[in-house]
């Protein structure tokens, strides 16, 4: 092993001094939000068909696929007076416990109707655990905070169908 040259220590002073005049690389987060990757897995969203009916048919496959066991689905029959989804049944209760969710995306893979997808929102912290249980209304609604998303064209990776239309 070569002995270190003591004079090399002084090169470091030049390096640190030069750094002062460079522009810092820090991103000023709350003011500037870095666009997330197009396939970023953030807050879940439930979707509707164009005619307003919910895509979810209450099959509970997402709940079965969920490794963190954070999804709760209670299904009910559609009736002619109360038609919520195009299928036989619909999700009367659809809850996701965000404090348990690990954002693995298995639910959107399991879903046969692309009813649930993971959106791009990551600012979902709350002051109370109760507020982290998202109900169906919250998941169906437009997210309050939108997050900038990077242009998908910049990446080679194909965007899955269920993701591209969320």
């Amino acid at each position: 092993m070569a002995r270190p040259n003591p004079l090399d220590s002084f090169k470091g002073f030049g390096v640190t001094f030069k750094q002062i005049f460079k522009k810092p690389i820090t991103q000023q987060y709350p003011e500037y939000k870095r666009p997330v990757y197009p396939r970023f897995r953030g807050r879940h969203r439930l979707h509707r068909h164009e005619n307003g009916l919910e895509k979810c048919v209450g099959c509970s496959l997402c709940a079965a696929a969920c490794p963190a066991d954070c999804i709760r689905v209670v299904a009910a029959e559609n009736t002619p007076d109360n038609r919520v989804s195009p299928g036989e049944r619909y999700a009367r209760i659809y809850e996701i416990n965000m404090s348990r969710c690990i954002f693995c995306g298995y639910c959107e893979l399991a879903c046969p109707f692309d009813a649930i997808t993971l959106g791009n929102e990551f600012e979902i912290s709350e002051y109370s655990r109760d507020d982290l249980i998202y109900t169906k209304d919250m998941l169906l609604a437009e997210p309050i905070k939108r997050v900038p998303v990077a242009d998908a064209e910049l990446f080679d990776t194909p965007i899955p169908y269920y993701k591209a239309h969320s």
Binding site: F17, Q19, I20, K23, P24, I25, T26
Partner: protein, 329 residues
């Protein structure tokens, strides 16, 4: 009739202490800013414009924090130790001359708070006393980590104090005085002692960094490796007092370097007095920060070996050579 009553010194002392505390507060800001820029960060920029209110926010935080008190601590000493270390640090600045002195409305206002003829010895005496703050603080916390930390601290400070004192000896020999005012005047008449005493300056600077526990000699604190040293059990403003002692020591040492090696309040082109002093002080403090940003921390055995086997012989040799030269010419 020009007089210099005692209350002028009192007002001056009051002003200097407050200026020092303000300098300490904003030095933490400058340090974080400069370090940040050297690491391609912004440093504090949230509290107020350019983060200028950050020191005040820190102060409020420190004061409002619980002043933790270990059950088995030796109570009087535990409380007195941070005060001692802050007091000695502040008191040492009283003999640093920052200006030539002025006559205002018939009163003589000195350029130094306490114009004693052995100012240099007083500074070293006070800085030795300041070590007691660290020893006592670590010991009275009744924690083995604090005790080990304070042992580490005082071993380092005692070792490097010797080299620091020897490095100054050359300046004393050339200035023919222990009074800092005389040394500054002598430099004004001849040349800044940084030129003939360049070895002494280097030893003084390295010793000064070790004496004030600054990186790369910050073994007492070693934030990235250990929890802390002697102040492990301290929190709130008591911890703040230790920090203040450390930073004020650093200011005092930089001021001493300016006084002994860079001509004190005299400067080229214009007789600006205290302004020159401040400019030089800021440059020296910047070098302190620069060193912190650049050099990695020494290992403990490296620190001890460097102190006793390199720094002390060099300082002694420098003093001897200077003495021989002063006698010869």
């Amino acid at each position: 009739m020009i007089t210099s009553p005692w209350w002028i010194s009192l007002i001056e002392a009051f002003l200097i202490i407050n200026v020092l505390m303000l300098t300490f507060a904003y030095m933490t800001w400058v340090e974080r800013k400069v370090l940040g820029r050297m690491q391609l960060r912004y440093g504090p920029n949230r509290a107020g414009p350019f983060g200028l209110l950050q020191p005040i926010a820190d102060l409020v935080k420190l004061i409002r924090k619980e002043a933790f008190y270990p059950e088995s601590a030796v109570d009087v000493l535990y409380i007195a130790a941070p005060a001692l270390s802050a007091f000695t640090a502040l008191a040492a600045f009283s003999v640093i001359p920052f200006g030539p002195g002025w006559d205002i409305a018939g009163y003589q206002i000195g350029g130094v708070v306490a114009p004693v003829s052995i100012g240099l010895i007083l500074i070293f005496a006070l800085s030795s006393l300041g070590i007691y703050g660290f020893i006592v603080g670590g010991w009275s916390s009744h924690s083995k980590y604090s005790l080990l930390g304070s042992m580490r601290t005082c071993a380092q400070m005692v070792s490097y104090e010797v080299s620091l004192t020897f490095a100054v000896l050359g300046v004393v020999l050339m200035g023919q005085s222990l009074s800092l005012v005389d040394i500054v005047e002598k430099q004004h008449d001849t040349i800044w002692f940084a030129a003939p005493q360049v070895v002494g300056l280097l030893v003084f600077f390295v010793g000064g960094i070790a004496e004030t526990n600054r990186p790369p000699f910050d073994l007492p604190e070693a934030d990235t490796e250990l929890v802390a040293g002697y102040h492990t059990e301290y929190s709130g403003m008591r911890f703040g007092l230790f920090q203040m002692g450390e930073y004020v020591n650093m200011i005092t040492l930089s001021a001493l370097a300016v006084t002994l090696f860079f001509g004190g309040w005299y400067g080229p082109w214009a007789p600006l007095g205290p302004l020159w002093f401040l400019i030089k002080l800021l440059i020296v403090i910047f070098v302190f920060l620069w060193i912190r940003a650049t050099l990695p921390r020494l290992r403990y055995d490296q620190l001890m070996r460097f102190g006793w086997k390199v720094l002390l012989p060099v300082a002694t040799l420098n003093a001897l050579v200077t003495a021989a030269c002063v006698v010869a010419f």
